[in-house]
Amino acid sequence: MTCSATAVLTYHPGGPYFRDMADQGVWISQEVAYSREDASPAPATSFEDLFGAVVGPAYGYALRLTRNRPDAEDLVQETALLAFRGFGSFIPGSNFKAWFFSILVRAFYGRHRQAQRRPSTVSFDDLPDLHLYSQSATAGLPTTGPDPAAELIDKLGTERVVQALDALPAEYRMVSALYFIQDFSYQEIAEVLAIPVGTVRSRLHRGRKMLQRALWEVATDCGLISETEGAWTR
């Protein structure tokens, strides 16, 4: 085998083999790859290792997209198979989680074409700023202190907060779930969803407003807050 001047290595998903793209794409062993003086540092992780680290977050995101557990599990499994087969296109050292999530989103669109083709027609004219803040102030709930909203969100509980997030229209839920659950930056969300950063920004802004309104409605609907008497009912 002729050594290339500069090895450009792509990891093989099936085992410890590399493809040297600077040498007509020939397959080389890990040993040969590591022995090349000019080779860039090879990844020490396999597809399974990388996937194992993202399966939990991927399931959490799939659950917000599909809104039911069996479909979420199927979506993650389908994504894993697609990613495994396409692992040759993953650039070692780049953001595996974002790469995997972009495949998950495409797989979701493949199953639910309506989510992609039919943007919601929600009116944003009546979405107020600082909705939870102003409602909390009116109801006599805490609005000051180091973590003033924590008590309200704690009392709502995980299930109701998730319920409010799930109630967002699909395009806002997809952006908001990446933001809240995965801690992705605007740029990463844009890459995962293949939309401009400006669209991420505006959807996130509106998504937050809708979420605040939904959280307050859930809190009052479940009787957590008495709107007539103010403050907590329990």
């Binding site: 659950l63 198979l81 803040y133 609005t143 309200l152 709502l156 920004r201 802004h205 959280l215």
Partner: protein
């Protein structure tokens, strides 16, 4: 900082989301921070909004994959 270049409440509020997400330029981050140092009302609103984001995030990030999902998928990958 030059008083002329200071943000008003409205200008700071318009950047609330981007400020909390650290998506502003370093210069704008500094200008919002400087506004908050001198404006009690905006500080209260910004603190409340940050608290909402942190609390919601804390709740929705607690969801784990079902036991057995990873192993099931690994078995499926092994058949490929």
């Amino acid at each position: 900082m030059d008083p002329v270049s200071r943000f008003t409440c409205e200008e700071a509020f318009r950047r609330l989301d981007d400020y909390l997400d650290r998506e502003l330029s370093p210069e704008e981050m500094a200008m919002v921070r400087e506004h908050l140092e001198t404006c009690v009302a905006c500080t209260r609103e910004f603190t409340f909004e940050a608290s909402v984001l942190t609390s919601v995030r804390h709740k929705v990030q607690r969801i784990d994959a079902p036991p057995g999902l990873l192993e099931r998928i690994k078995r499926e990958l092994g058949r490929q």
